[in-house]
């Protein structure tokens, strides 16, 4: 068990100018499950491989516990990794695959056997111990890869998109199993994924990266409720947050035919930078359908924004309306969540008002969060 610290860790691939991972600063607590998430090419896998020792660290340091491992070879770091494609030794049986590290470490045979059997029991692999990987299904291979990490009893688990080769149903099931297993073992875990649903459901904390830069590290709840910038706001949440550029007015910002109240200092800060607009973010579930009921800015028009329904996705419990609205003279795509029992028809016009206190305001020029 140990903490993990990225201390301004930087990786610049030879022959490139831009850092693949730029001064990454994260402190991971003992026993914590941290998820690195971001679009492809954001540096999340590189960060993980730096921690594993598979990638050089050009600047800064990485520590596991109090130990500086920045330049240690992988074998001296006491970590175990689960690869995206599992990387099982094809010429060894499941038991040998799982016991390989222990064998190298010189653990005696009976102890290897006990530990492998224990791990196999946890992962439901007992009857497959004598098989070769090619005689296993994808899900079973994935579990062998997990088992290989578990029997090591390492200080840190590293997982590089371990679920991306499973089918959708198995992925959801395994997701819960991995998270449960990690809680039970209490081993510090760093988990890389591009799937923000995985990130939100599994992590104690989530770190969002983009272009090698850390955008925000926070609990899934805070990440969802208070995204630090436009990128995080758009990346976390599915369907994504509606982000609309609107002009600044007195007492707030004008959103269609309503005023969204915004913190005065935030507006002042934006105005000071010379911005005339801010970007307002509203999650699909934070729109209220206010067909003529809410307070309108102009008396003769209904309140809120008129959204023309293009597509309705019915998911059973609720539905998502994909529509377009004219805001500030431009056609914008808007997603609104509606109750599963009263979905509008295609072509209908909805008047939606953002719920008070559930809006996010970002600076249009810098992308930083203005409201709190």
């Amino acid at each position: 068990m140990a903490t993990v610290t990225f201390d301004k860790a930087t990786r610049i691939y030879p022959g490139t100018d831009r850092a693949a991972v730029d001064k990454l600063d994260i402190e991971i607590a003992d026993g914590e499950f941290l998820v690195l998430v971001g679009p492809s090419g954001c540096g999340k896998s590189t960060s993980l491989r730096m921690l594993a020792g598979l990638e050089d660290v050009d600047d800064g340091a990485i520590r596991i516990g109090d130990r500086d491992v920045t330049h240690l070879p992988p074998k001296d770091r006491d970590i175990a990794m689960v690869f995206q494609n599992y990387a099982l030794y094809p010429h060894m049986t499941v038991a040998d695959n799982m016991g390989f590290a222990l064998k190298i470490a010189g653990v005696n045979k009976t102890e290897i056997r006990t530990r492998v059997e224990e791990a196999a029991k946890i992962l439901d692999l007992t009857e497959y111990l004598g098989r070769k990987p090619k005689a296993l299904s994808g899900g079973q291979r994935q579990r062998v890869a997990m088992g290989r990490a578990i029997v090591r009893e390492p200080q840190v688990f590293l997982m590089d998109e371990p679920l991306s080769n499973l089918d959708a149903k198995l992925r959801v099931q395994t997701r819960t199993q991995i998270a449960g297993l990690q809680r039970r073992l209490g081993t510090t875990t760093v988990y890389v994924t591009h799937d923000q649903v995985e990130a939100m459901t599994m992590g104690d904390r989530v770190a969002v990266l983009k272009d090698g830069l850390l955008q925000q590290v926070d609990s899934p709840r805070n990440m969802y409720d208070r995204p630090a910038n436009l990128f995080v706001a758009g990346f976390i949440g599915s369907p994504a947050m509606n982000l609309v550029e609107v002009p600044i007015t007195d007492g707030g910002v004008k959103f269609g035919n309503s005023i969204v109240p915004v913190n005065r200092e935030a507006i002042a800060a934006a105005a000071e930078k010379g911005d005339r607009t801010v970007t307002v973010g509203v999650r699909p579930e934070h729109f209220d359908i206010a067909n003529g009921e809410a307070k309108a800015l102009a008396k003769d028009e209904p309140a809120g924004v008129a959204v023309t329904v293009n597509v309705v996705e019915e998911l059973g419990a609720d539905g998502y309306v994909y529509g377009t609205a004219e805001i500030g003279g431009e056609q914008k795509d808007i997603v609104v969540r509606v109750g599963g029992r009263q979905v509008p028809m295609k072509g209908e016009v909805l008047h939606v008002v953002p719920r008070a206190g559930e809006t996010h305001v970002f600076s249009t020029s810098s992308g930083e969060r203005l409201s709190d």
Partner: protein, 292 residues
Amino acid sequence: MTAVDSPRPIPSLPARLTARFGGGAMRLALLLVALFWLVPTLGLLVSSLRGPTDIQSSGWWQVFTSPAQLTLHNYASLMGNSAITHALLNTVLITVPATLLVVVIGAAAGYAFAWLEFPGRDWLFLLLIGLLVVPVQVALIPVTDLYARLGIFGSLFGVILFHTAFGLPFAIFLLRNFFAEIPRELLEAARLDGAGELRLFARVVLPLGGPAIASLAIFQFLWVWNDMLVALIFANSNSAPLTVALQQQTRQFGDNIDVLSSGAFLSMVIPLAVFFAFQRQFVNGIMAGAVK
């Protein structure tokens, strides 16, 4: 989608032939071709089992009408010929080390070229590929000169060294390309599991290289076993292998056919045995199940 929508795949040539002529006729044709190819070998085998007078007086196919001709006499006289048995031992003493050395050094070098980072690696590999096109013949005179100075001319060691040196470029080329196909994650997983380079090589890379190493071993074994040119030049009468010894059994008057036929057949049968021993290794999909 129904089958009508998708373009019908064009069947392969054997499939079309089978469809047209039927499986039985196809098999018969293949069998005839195979028999045709085997006739000279069969003739050699039968000759080696007939006495010298029979061989000289009639063709080997006579054996089908008078099988009483068959005798193991030739093999007995072959085994009694100390020049031949000594040469057979020499062949083994040359072929086995020359094969093992090429496989071991080739595998280590192949791994290094595929996975270790060192300065000048790619240039060195390019140079190696260049060596592939150097024919043995251009090296004969300079190497003879070199061996004479080193005092290893005529020795078994000299012959082994020559075969090893000329076997290596192809061995390294073949194994490097095979090892390069090993998924990177597999090696990384082994490193994370605590394996150093040596253990990684012995426990992961070598077992995975099985099919390529087996092919290489067979090629090299056959090449060295059947070689006459190199041995004729670099071996002396004491270190000459079977090929050279058999050639020396030919006489200007009288053909010594009893020793030649049995010796030639023996020289053919041993590599065949080696081939069948390694054939089990040619299993497809040794990498199956490694990734995904």
